[in-house]
């Protein structure tokens, strides 16, 4: 056990399938340029709903990247997951040979907040519209939250620890931490992350009950956290998978370390109790910094949760100040998710991908559609800001009350 505890959890691959890019390169280009992919929802059957704007993944043809026999038995959220996992594994140069020689050395962890809603709605329609005999054999494996982890494991031959955190937004960070812990316990690599597909008609109807949901119909005005025009959040689909790998395993096979998952903590302060989330988030940040052995002043950039609800935005700004002190007013804060929307569990995983890329490029991406802030924060708006970044803090809060903080370190950070 003691030797395993010395292991560090590195990120060696990133795969993104997001509204603003269906490859890691296109995602980063759009993110650092501050382009917004929010737009009117075009999905069939959604035209009449009061939710008008979302982050849809449009530039993605599943059949071009996933075998048809996997496509027929899976929902869109799993299509994104399989594609993002492929991209991440390619990026990490982790291939079939690695899993064939040691299948138990690679596992899969996903977070899921919306499940296979489109697939499920189709089968519900068959059941109630035509009869139980019309429910197909894949309903049992496509709708449930575990579908993506299971399918990635099977498709890639990974027999390592396989897990699913079914969660609100913060679960995306919990999944990455779960992966990092599995690596520290001895598994060489975990493909981890989250993709979501909550834009089927019935899934959207379910989300209408969230008071925090934005129903503003203009894409550039629908999601503007930290401003006096904050009116809630915009949902999104897609997401990201990353390869979390033991740094010694990565070095042994000559893989490039992109960054480290250095610390994590999670707390709970109650569904929609945004004022209370201030203390919850602060507690999570303190414990995550402690887990990482990182002083508050070392944080070079914060990727904010940025819910877009005034009370929640205020709580987050105060939580940052509570933990980082005077440094909290100087540290750059950004929320690139205003250009993609909040893809539930996938949102903080995309932020993690952006944070690793930001550290690599020495560039903090801006917060699209946000031009000023009413909070005491150094919010990066307009254009990307060059900066030497060694430590990034990613924050996430969930609509059901979870708060989570993840500390990432740049690959070049000393081992100390």
């Amino acid at each position: 056990m003691s030797a395993a505890h010395e292991r560090r959890a590195a990120i060696t691959g990133i795969g993104v399938v997001a509204p603003n890019g269906t490859s890691t390169d296109t995602f980063w280009k759009a993110t650092q340029e501050g382009l917004s992919a929010l737009d009117r929802i075009t999905r069939e059957g959604c035209e009449h709903l009061p939710l008008k704007v979302a982050g849809e993944v449009r530039d993605f043809e599943p059949a071009a990247v996933i075998e048809e026999r996997f496509l027929v038995q899976t929902d869109r959220f799993t299509h994104y997951a399989m594609a993002a996992a492929d991209l991440a594994l390619d990026d990490a140069r982790l291939g079939k040979a690695d899993s064939e020689t040691a299948p138990y050395s690679i596992g899969v962890v996903t977070a899921a907040g919306s499940g296979g809603g489109e697939f499920g709605q189709r089968e519900l329609q068959r059941l109630w519209g035509k009869g139980s005999r019309f429910v197909g054999p894949y309903q049992s494996i496509a709708w449930f939250y575990a579908a993506s982890t299971g399918q990635i494991s099977i498709r890639r031959g990974f027999k390592g620890p396989c897990s699913v955190v079914a969660a609100d937004e913060a679960g995306g960070l919990d999944a990455l931490a779960h992966a990092a812990r599995a690596v520290k316990r001895g598994t060489d690599a975990i493909v981890a992350g989250s993709t979501e597909a909550p834009l089927a008609p019935y899934s959207m109807v379910c989300q209408l009950g969230y008071e925090e949901l934005s129903t503003v119909a203009e894409p550039d005005r629908a999601y503007r956290p930290f401003t006096d025009a904050a009116c809630g959040f915009v949902p999104a689909e897609g997401g990201a998978m990353v390869v979390v790998e033991a740094d010694d395993a990565a070095r042994a096979r000559g893989a490039e370390v992109r960054g480290f998952v250095a610390g994590h903590a999670a707390t709970f302060t109650g569904a929609s109790r945004w004022a209370e989330s201030r203390e919850g988030l602060a507690q999570a940040v303190r414990a995550a910094l402690d887990d990482a052995g990182c002083a508050p002043e070392e944080v070079d950039v914060v990727f904010a949760d940025a819910l877009g609800v005034p009370e929640a935005d205020r709580a987050e700004a105060l939580a940052i100040a509570d933990v980082l002190g005077a440094h909290g007013r100087r540290v750059p804060v950004t929320a690139p998710k205003t250009g993609t929307g909040r893809g539930y569990c996938a949102a903080p995983v995309l932020d993690t991908a952006a944070a690793v890329l930001a550290m690599e490029h020495g560039l903090i991406p801006p917060t699209p559609n946000v031009h000023d802030t009413v909070h005491d924060l150094d919010l990066v708006t307009g254009r990307a800001r060059p900066a030497e970044l060694r430590t990034a803090l990613v924050l996430s809060r969930g609509l059901m009350g979870s708060n989570s903080a993840l500390v990432l370190r740049h690959a070049a950070t000393d081992r100390a």
């Binding site: 048809e68 026999r69 996997f70 496509l71 027929v72 038995q73 005999r133 197909g136 054999p137 894949y138």
Partner: protein, 84 residues
């Protein structure tokens, strides 16, 4: 009632299991295992379910246990003919 043809089976394989095999190729692989063609247990259940719904009749439990297209078509067609 007309029997299920190789063409119809090829169509069902694509629809229910996502496996594309041209009918003429399927004809040549008549005795190959479904597993070699990429059809697993769920895929075959899907094909059987779709046939049952199309023809409004139950297939024998052995249908989903058939190993090859020939076995499958023989069994399914004899069932359909018997019911016709």
């Amino acid at each position: 009632m007309s029997p299920i043809t190789v063409e119809e089976l090829a169509g069902l394989m694509k629809q229910a299991a996502g496996v594309s095999v041209a009918p003429q190729d399927l004809q040549q692989q008549y005795d190959s295992g479904f597993d070699a063609l990429g059809i697993d247990s769920l895929g075959l259940l899907g094909i059987v379910g779709e046939l049952e719904n199309r023809h409004g009749t139950s297939m024998p439990p052995d249908a989903e246990r058939c190993k090859t297209p020939r076995q499958f078509l023989d069994l399914v067609n004899s069932t359909l003919m018997a019911g016709a």
